[in-house]
Each structure stands twice: as structure tokens, then as C-alpha cells.
């Protein structure tokens, strides 16, 4: 059996084989998803679980339509996206700035080392009490919590990436007369650290999404808040609508980020 397979391999060109593999993996993925939906639908349909506890997938489109029609879906999505974007931008900007600074300067690193050790283990959500005391149950409170969650991820990614910058390339800058910190920053450190920073940003993209939902559960209007409202009314189909909305939005944003990342790193082999 193995013998005949080996003998047959050269007849199929590598490119075609790769296409076949890609085709079969898409097919398997689709089959798996279908099986998942069938089992999911079977559980309430066969009476294994009360449909109130777990609505089947067939119940979702109608729930989605009613949320769309009432305008709730749109306002929840725009609310969440605005917290998400603001928190992501603020957390990333702060994280990159401080990460690069502590990566470039030994003094800055030593100065912050113990503060970082104290603050870092505190989860972003543990700031919720202060977020609410300082900002009330407002979008600012959600942005604050998201910013903190994003900050640490991006800070450590940027710090590590800057610390790992090839000394040889810094010497090139010096040999050509670029000795000032800002010259090295823009000519060497930032572009050389970009791959590592982007990895951190991509992780933050997912982390920020979790923080959005968690922050909104405290009552700031958005997807998380709407989910909690629906669950209080036992409208479990609506809860699922928002769960899937989060998955779809995250998938969309992650794909867009991947496109940007590939373009920014087009110089890599």
C-alpha cells in the first residue's frame, strides 16, 4: 500500500497536490461546522434540553431580525466598536510609547521595573471598581478598562522587541552619523521592532474584545450590556445573536489586521 502511494506521488504535480489538500481541508472544515450545527439543533429539538435553556441555530435568524428591526443590534455594535477602538488606540499608543522607551533606556527600565512588577498582575477587570468610581457607568469607564487590558500586552511586546533589536544595525546608524536617540528610534528601533510590536497588537486585538464585553456587563451600553439585558429576560436566542456578533466582528477585525500586518512586513522573506 505504502509502495503504490509513493510510486503514484510524482505523477501529481506539487501545486496540484497542494490545491487538492487545500480543497479537502476546506471541505472537512465545512463538514465539521455542519455537524456542529446539527448536534446543536438536535439537543433542543430532541428534547434533551429545554429550548429556553439552549435555543437551536434555527431560532437565531428570527431573533437576529427582530434585533435588527428594533435598531438595538446596530446601536449595540456601534457602542461597543467605539469603546473598543478608543481603548485599543489609547492602550496601544501608551504601550508602544512606554515599551519603546523602557526598551531603549536602561534608566527607564530600571526606574519602572518594580512598578511594573506590582501593577502588571492586576487584571484589567480588577480596575472596574475604580473605573466606575472615577467615571461612573459611562463609556469612559469601559474605555478605561479596555485601555489597561491592551496596554500591558502591547507594552511587553514593544519592550521585548526593542530590547531584541540587532546591535549591529544600531552600529550602522552610528557609522553613518545618526547618533541621536530620535534618529536611532525612527531609523532603526521602530522598524526593526515592528514585527514584534505587531504580534503584540494582534494579541491585544483579541484581548480588547474580551475586555469590551466584560466592561459592558457592568452596564455601559453595547454588546455586552445588551446580552445581559436579554439574559435577564431569558431571551437566550438574543444572547446567542450577540455571541455570534462578537465572533463575527472579531473575525473581521483580525482579518483586516492581518492584511495590514502582511503589507507592513512585506520586506520579510
Amino acid at each position: 500500500m505504502a509502495l503504490t502511494e509513493t510510486a503514484a506521488l510524482p505523477a501529481v504535480p506539487a501545486a496540484r497536490r497542494a490545491r487538492l489538500n487545500a480543497f479537502s481541508s476546506v471541505g472537512l472544515g465545512a463538514a465539521g461546522l455542519l455537524a456542529f450545527l446539527l448536534i446543536w439543533q438536535a439537543v433542543p429539538s430532541l428534547g434533551l434540553v429545554n429550548p429556553m435553556m439552549l435555543p437551536g441555530p434555527l431560532a437565531i435568524p428570527a431573533a437576529f431580525q427582530s434585533e435588527l428591526a428594533s435598531g438595538m443590534w446596530f446601536s449595540a455594535v456601534t457602542g461597543s466598536l467605539s469603546h473598543y477602538t478608543l481603548g485599543l488606540v489609547a492602550g496601544s499608543a501608551l504601550g508602544i510609547a512606554l515599551g519603546v522607551l523602557t526598551g531603549m533606556s536602561r534608566v527607564a527600565e530600571d526606574l519602572t521595573a518594580w512598578v511594573v512588577r506590582v501593577l502588571r498582575p492586576i487584571p484589567g477587570l480588577a480596575w472596574a471598581p475604580f473605573a466606575i468610581i472615577w467615571f461612573g457607568v459611562t463609556p469612559s469607564a469601559a474605555v478605561f478598562i479596555i485601555t489597561i487590558s491592551v496596554f500591558w500586552i502591547v507594552f511587553f511586546a514593544a519592550h521585548g522587541a526593542v530590547r531584541a533589536v540587532d546591535r549591529d544595525l544600531l552600529e550602522v546608524a552610528e557609522a553613518f552619523g545618526f547618533r541621536a536617540a530620535h534618529e536611532k528610534l525612527f531609523k532603526i528601533y521602530l522598524p526593526a521592532a515592528m514585527p514584534g510590536i505587531l504580534v503584540g497588537l494582534r494579541t491585544a486585538l483579541g484581548q480588547a474584545w474580551m475586555a469590551v464585553v466584560a466592561a459592558e456587563i457592568f452596564g455601559v451600553p453595547g454588546l455586552g450590556h445588551r446580552m445581559i439585558e436579554a439574559s435577564a429576560l431569558l431571551a437566550t436566542d438574543i444572547v446567542i445573536v450577540y455571541m455570534l456578533t462578537m465572533a463575527a466582528l472579531y473575525g473581521l477585525l483580525d482579518s483586516l489586521f492581518l492584511l495590514l500586518q502582511n503589507w507592513l512586513l512585506r520586506w520579510k522573506a
Binding site: V172, A175, F176, A192, W267
Partner: protein, 256 residues
């Protein structure tokens, strides 16, 4: 003849983890304008360190280095490293234009100058490539173009061809000779390869000892254009060998 580089009593001591290493001591060297001088020596004798002092990457601990350059240029010397050290995130043209930044030139002026320099090394057609798409020889040509682009009076080269295969190395050696003849730049070329030194340079300075100092200084009179099968003055080669390997053979063997 006037000297473009004048080194008097140069000494350099590194200090690391409380241990002092004296790399160079009492080094005297005068490089005439337009000369092609090779510096040979075994690994660790301080020949790279000498170039690093001249480019400002290392500080001398003793002695005096005078660069008598004509213009008040920002960059009177340029260095070609052993490994090309191209910036991987910049296209070839932007790597070559690197040293021209911060001089008040427009981007198109910088690119025009960079393209000229790429033309000198015969790679103008690869201007839009990324460094990872180049061969080792091409990368080193781009590094040479990057140094030429800043129009330095003195070109410092730190074993620039030692990492290349024999064919690329020979073609780059010939190209460098041509560039030197066309541009009239002063070249200070560090190598541990005696054949390379006597083939390229019109003067070979031998560094040896720990700490390193000059132990021999030979003029190579072989007329140009030179051929690879020309025997450089056998007595000179033998003397260099004697200083380097103590009879054990070439400095290459010692460096390996």
C-alpha cells in the same frame, strides 16, 4: 605626500567586567590621500578596532587620530562592514540612500544619488528589490554603494569580501580596484588574506602582537592592471607571512 589620515601613538583598552584588554598600543600610521592601503593581521589583533576608531564607533584610550579631510563634510569617512548589514525593511535604493538622510536633500535627490552609487557597483536594476532577495555578493555590493553614496573621502572596509564565495569575491575585488581608480578615493582595507592584500593594495601594513602594533609596512609595486597569476614580490609575501604566522603559513590558517 600629504596624509589624509594621521595616526600617532594610538592605543585602545577595553574594559569589560572589570577585566582590561589592551587591543592596540603605540600604533603609528599615515595614509596618503588617494592611497589603497591594506591592513593584514590575524584575528583579534585589533585591525577592525582600528577602523572602528576611525569611524567613531570606538574611542581611543591614547594617542591621536587626525582626519585631514578637504571639505567640512558630515561624513568624510564611510565604513563597509564584513557582513553587509543592510536594513531588511528598506528596499535596496533606500538602503543606499540611508546615509544621505538628514542633510536637507529631497527624497528624489537622495534617490538620484543612491541610483548613481548603485550604478557604480552595477546594481541599478535591483533598486526596488528587498535585501532578502539578493545574493551574498549582491548584498555586499549594495553595502559598498551605501558607503559610496555619502561621497566619503576615505572608504574603510572591514574584511568586506571574506564571507563571500570565491567567484563573487574575485569579481568584487576587481570591481573595487576599478572603483578606486575611477573615484580616486582613499581606501583602507582590512583583511586576513595576504593574496587579497597584495592583489588589491599598493601598500600592505602588517599588524601583529597583543596588543596589536604595526610590525611591517610594504609597498606593492606590481604594475596595474594586475593579474591574479602575477606573483607579487615573493620576498614581500614571505616577509608578511613570517610576521603573521611565524612560519606556520598564512594568516588565514592562523585566523581559522
Amino acid at each position: 605626500m600629504e596624509s589624509v589620515i594621521n595616526i600617532q601613538g594610538l592605543g585602545l583598552t577595553f574594559e569589560r567586567d572589570g577585566r582590561r584588554t589592551e587591543v592596540l598600543r603605540g600604533l603609528d600610521l599615515a595614509i596618503p590621500r588617494g592611497a589603497f592601503v591594506a591592513i593584514v593581521g590575524a584575528s583579534g589583533v585589533g585591525k577592525s578596532t582600528l577602523l572602528r576608531v576611525l569611524i567613531g564607533l570606538a574611542q581611543a584610550s591614547a594617542g591621536k587620530v587626525t582626519l585631514d579631510t578637504h571639505s567640512a563634510q558630515r561624513q568624510p569617512v564611510a565604513l563597509v562592514f564584513q557582513d553587509s548589514r543592510l536594513l531588511p525593511w528598506r528596499r535596496v535604493i533606500d538602503n543606499v540612500a540611508f546615509g544621505l538622510e538628514g542633510r536637507g536633500l529631497s527624497r528624489s535627490d537622495r534617490h538620484a544619488k543612491a541610483l548613481d552609487a548603485l550604478g557604480i557597483v552595477g546594481l541599478a536594476h535591483l533598486a526596488r528589490r528587498w535585501p532578502h532577495q539578493l545574493s551574498g555578493g549582491q548584498r555586499q555590493r549594495v553595502a559598498l554603494a551605501r558607503a559610496l553614496a555619502v561621497e566619503p573621502e576615505v572608504l574603510l572596509m572591514d574584511e568586506p569580501f571574506s564571507a563571500l564565495d570565491a567567484i563573487s569575491r574575485e569579481s568584487l575585488q576587481d570591481e573595487l580596484t576599478r572603483i578606486w581608480q575611477v573615484t580616486g578615493k582613499t581606501i583602507l582595507f582590512v583583511t586576513h588574506d595576504i593574496e587579497e592584500a597584495t592583489y588589491l593594495a599598493d601598500r600592505v601594513v602588517v599588524l601583529a602582537g597583543a596588543p596589536g602594533r604595526t610590525v611591517a609596512d610594504h609597498v606593492i609595486n606590481t604594475p596595474r592592471p594586475r593579474r591574479r597569476d602575477d606573483d607579487a614580490d615573493a620576498a614581500i609575501v614571505a616577509d608578511i607571512r613570517r610576521h603573521l604566522g611565524g612560519g606556520k603559513g598564512s594568516a588565514l590558517a592562523e585566523a581559522a
